[in-house]
């Protein structure tokens, strides 16, 4: 529930390289802050309890579920969303498009952010490591085979360039 009965702290965080200071309500999730208040709508809510991975963002280098983290916990954190990954021209975006690693697209940003975090931490994953990394992301359209193809191709490109 949302009321004005609680103090609303200010937090400072960096999102896609930009510094923000925001007053946040104690019950806001990071997802609400990013999606509803910063207007970065790439992160999506598919489930409502950390089961689908569609709201994944990268926080201090790790893929996290933004619907399971309170915004007040993010003071001083550095966040990367799918918009930031796209604006930086990361080859994952192009690979996802070329390999049709999307259909309805609702879950796609969650896959892209999870994949980006994987490659940042493990630049040369095996196919099985990619599948395990993405096993927390649900896609009802069934695009799973294409994600592995896209991520491995980008891994190859980034590690040989």
């Amino acid at each position: 529930m949302e009321t004005n009965a609680f103090a609303c702290p200010h937090i400072r965080l960096t999102v896609n390289g930009k510094a923000y200071t925001r007053e946040v309500r104690p019950n806001w999730t990071l997802y609400q802050l990013i999606h509803d208040h910063l207007g970065l709508t790439g992160a999506k809510q598919f489930c409502d309890r950390g089961a689908c991975g569609s709201c994944t963002v990268i926080m201090d280098g790790k893929a996290v579920l933004s619907c399971m983290i309170l915004a007040v916990e993010c003071d001083g954190k550095t966040i990367e969303t799918v918009e930031g990954i796209a604006d930086a021209g990361h080859p994952l975006i192009d690979a996802y498009v070329r390999h049709h690693a999307m259909q309805c697209g609702y879950c796609t940003p969650g896959f892209v952010t999870t994949s980006k975090a994987l490659l940042d931490n493990n630049p040369k994953p095996t196919a099985q490591e990619v599948k395990i990394a993405l096993s927390g992301n649900l896609c009802r359209c069934g695009t799973y085979p294409q994600h592995t193809i896209a991520v491995l191709e980008v891994s190859q490109k980034l590690t040989t360039s």
Binding site: G42, K44, E83, V97, C139, G142, T143, Y144
Partner: protein
């Protein structure tokens, strides 16, 4: 401009005679059939810039949440909303007894079966039903809390969860408001399909088997929850809808709130977070939209409603039910008669007959398929990728059983019985010739390619005959059917050439379900017009007054493809005619044509350039030809002063297509294209787990206009179909009638690790489809057909039939006698 000429209309009708082979295909294809072409939606979706209805936020927007019934069958006797109203942030509470709420409203597509219920009912017919009250508040969280504070005095009623129990004449009524006499719909008669005489068939058959299976309730799980945003500007409504058929919203809305003129409705249909079925077109979904509109009217503020994930779980697939079969056949695998009776539940749409695919695709002479449907106290049952599920499940079960009984390879049994409406392939070959098609045996081609990819002949074995070194049992499954298309419908498509740069815009509202349909239509328009693909764009999210058949994920290419193709052909002719006509007619004369002394037939267009066929160097780009709109200068002052042209007439064309198509039980022509699917599994006899090892999908799509999109439906459909076959079932507490697993933790769908196997995707292009260039849709097929293939593969592995779907590990262990 505007209406097409008599000649154009006559040509359209000739070109759209889709009962025959396409008499007017293109001589060459540039973008049609090409791999690696751009996805129009790709960067939006991958980069997080695709907007969905759930993302819509408007200034001052209120959030609407509904009271959910705590009981599976109950009536509100009294409601007190005082505590809810006191909560800060609550702006409006809509109650079932609001004077503006009508007792009935047009809230769906098929009204004859379910009727028109009230938008906000006093009666609950399943646990979790959104009903009774809706709270609008500043935030979703406040609205949810306010709903919890509503005090309701309920009168609980007896309820039915079990299909067979609900059939008993002494069973309590499940839905007395709509069906006061019985739980049967229409006294038990829903549909019956007959061909030949089954008694005669069974008498002639050497062997007969009878069996029964149960398909448990499962659901669609669209990632974007059901939602909509509604606001009023004076008497004009503006809506954002998650909806497969946006035109249906306009149609229904025009009758709401005392009537709204169609031309005052401003509709947006953004990217759709998938639907997989007809839930968007039934009152369960339309009622909340009605309520959102009424609350928006009452409060003067925009209102967004969004189901919770749990609320979305209450809808179910229409194939859920009990299937009983009697099959007569000979020991060589020839099937002579099938008698099937099915009992389904809560059919809001007319489900397709379970023997329909046997009629459409086989030479089996004697068929009878009877459907009865009863009301129980669960949610609405609608097509869920898709209404062909019962027919697909039945065909797979019957052919697999007969093959096993005869000790035959199921592929051989399929080939032996392939045909059309009781006729054999010789008869079908004559039909193909008469209709101008190549005499290609589509199933034989699919089977040959699929067997090779699967190495079927080396891998297939009699049931329960192969234990692997890892201790698991090895199983192979095969099924097949026709390549169907949802082609009973209409489509309107228009194309305009933009000023200044000569690019083309396709105009027609639809919904983007992710099958890259818009790009498919752009390819057709580009190749037909002679434009570069990047010069053709299509945004179906805006309402230009034209509506295509949608969702395209329901194989609507065979309708929409004709409409866009003919619009492009009319438009091209108009461009070429404009190119040879004097332009810029004014009071004082005109400018000379772009191509003087030329006839339209002397010209052509390629790569977005108009050129003279006899001398391609004489050319002008589309951009230079069309000029900018409203420019001043030579048109008003220097006519005929050396300018070749200065203004070209607006270039626009529309077309339409209305089709009976193959979606009708009385097909205007036989189904000629086939699909075949192969599955290899391993069954762990210690745990009961089913491991997917390999999948091969072969689909005769007639002509692959967008090959990667077709393949997406193959591997994507395999993942979803196998997920449904292995995992998916809504569990209800039999004592309370409450759903126990309405969330994505307790209701399992497949992940990357659950279908961790190669999926070979093979496309066959026989040119025998209903669509342009001989194409046929593929959107629903594989996800539907693969659902039933787990059972035959498990039987091949362990030698025991499991007749209770989904086939979960506990059922495997039970079949093995281990629990």
């Amino acid at each position: 401009m505007g209406r097409m000429s008599d000649k154009e209309e006559q040509t359209m009708r000739e070109m759209q005679d889709n009962l025959r082979a396409d008499p007017f295909p293109l001589k060459t294809y540039t973008h049609i059939g090409k791999r690696g072409e751009r996805r129009l939606d790709g960067y939006h979706k991958a980069g997080g810039r695709a907007d969905y209805t759930m993302d819509v936020q408007l200034p001052g927007m209120l959030h609407l949440k509904f009271l959910n019934a705590p009981y599976p069958h109950a009536e509100i006797k009294h409601m007190d909303t005082t505590e809810a109203e006191r909560l800060p942030g609550v702006r409006y509470i809509l109650r079932y007894d609001h004077p503006e709420l009508p007792p009935r409203a047009s809230l769906g597509k098929v009204t004859g079966i379910y009727g028109d219920p009230p938008p906000l009912s006093r009666f609950a017919h399943f646990e979790g039903e959104p009903m009774g009250a809706a709270v609008a508040a500043e935030t979703e969280a406040i609205a949810e809390e306010a709903v919890r504070r509503i005090k309701v005095e309920w009168e609980e009623r007896p309820f039915n969860l079990d299909i067979m129990a609900a059939k008993d004449k002494n069973a309590p009524l499940s839905y007395p408001e709509m069906y006061p006499d019985s739980n049967y719909w229409n006294n038990g008669f829903f549909d019956v399909l007959t061909q030949g005489n089954v008694k005669k068939g069974f008498a002639a058959a050497g062997r007969t088997i009878e069996f029964e299976f149960n398909r448990r309730g499962h659901t669609w799980i669209g990632p974007e929850r059901p939602c909509g945003v509604f606001r009023w500007k004076g008497d004009s409504p503006e809506l954002w809808v998650k909806q497969q058929r946006p035109h249906l919203v306009k149609k229904n809305l025009s009758s709401w709130y005392g009537g709204v003129p169609m031309n005052k409705i401003k509709l947006h249909c953004l990217y759709q977070g998938a639907s997989f079925g007809g839930w968007v077109q039934v009152p369960w979904n339309m009622g909340p939209l009605y309520c959102a509109g009424l609350v928006a009217k009452e409060t003067g503020r925009p209102v967004k409603y969004a189901f919770s994930r749990r609320e979305d779980f209450y809808g179910q697939s229409m194939d859920d039910g009990i299937y009983r079969f009697k099959v007569g056949f000979n020991s060589d695998g020839t099937i002579l008669a099938v008698d099937c009776t099915t009992t389904f539940t809560n059919q809001i749409w007319p489900v397709f007959n379970p023997v329909n695919h046997l009629r459409e695709n086989t030479r089996i002479p004697h068929l009878k398929g009877k459907i009865e449907t009863v009301w129980i106290n669960k949610g609405p049952a609608v097509p869920t990728r898709c209404e062909q599920l019962p027919a697909s499940l039945s065909l797979t079960a019957i052919f697999s059983r007969v093959a096993a009984e005869c000790g035959l390879d199921p592929v051989e049994v399929a080939l032996k019985n392939d045909g059309v409406e009781g006729h054999d392939l010789d008869h079908v070959a004559v039909e193909k010739e008469k209709l101008g098609f190549p005499v290609i045996d589509s199933l034989a081609v699919c089977v040959q390619k699929g067997k090779a990819a699967m190495d079927w002949d080396a891998k297939w074995h009699p049931p329960g005959a192969r234990r692997l070194p890892n201790g698991r049992m090895h199983g192979m499954g095969f099924t097949w059917t026709n390549e169907w298309d949802d082609s009973l419908g209409s489509s309107e498509m228009a194309i305009r050439i933009e000023r200044n740069d000569g690019t083309a815009t396709i105009l027609s509202m639809g919904c983007d379900q992710g099958v890259d349909a818009e790009n498919t239509y752009c390819r057709i328009a580009a190749d037909e017009l002679g434009l570069k693909l990047e010069d053709v764009h299509y945004n179906p999210q805006i309402d230009p007054g034209f509506f295509r058949m949608s969702p395209d994920s329901s194989t609507n290419l065979s309708v929409n493809g004709w409409a866009v193709r003919h619009a492009a052909r009319i438009l091209k002719q108009r461009i070429l005619e404009a190119a040879v006509r004097p332009t810029a007619q004014t009071q004082r004369g005109s400018f000379r044509p772009a191509f003087p002394d030329c006839a339209p037939e002397d010209l052509d267009i390629a790569d977005s350039v108009i050129f003279r066929k006899s001398d391609p160097s004489e050319s002008v780009s589309m951009a230079d030809f069309v000029q900018a709109a409203g420019q001043s200068g030579p048109i008003t002052s220097t006519e005929n002063a050396g300018f070749r042209w200065a203004f070209t007439e607006p270039l626009f064309a529309f077309s339409y297509h209305v089709q009976v198509g193959s979606y009708n039980p009385h097909n205007p022509r036989p189904h000629l294209t086939r699909q075949a699917h192969f599955l290899e599994i391993e069954v762990d006899t210690e745990t009961g787990e089913i491991h997917i090892v390999k999948v091969v999908n072969v689909n005769d799509v007639g002509k692959a206009i967008n090959p990667m999109s077709c393949e997406g439906q193959q591997y994507g459909g395999s993942v979803m179909g196998l997920s449904r076959g292995k995992f998916e079932e809504m569990i209800y507490d039999p004592v309370t009638g409450v759903m126990l697993n309405g969330n994505l933790i307790d209701y399992k769908i497949a992940t990357t690790l659950d279908v961790d196997a190669p999926i070979d995707t093979i496309l066959v292009e026989s040119g025998m489809g209903y669509g342009p260039y001989g194409s046929v849709g593929i959107g629903e097929d594989i996800g539907t057909v693969m659902t039933g293939l787990v059972g035959p593969a498990v039987h091949n592995a362990i030698g025991v039939w499991i007749d209770d779907h989904p086939i979960t590990p506990d059922k495997v262990l039970k079949a093995l006698g281990k629990i």
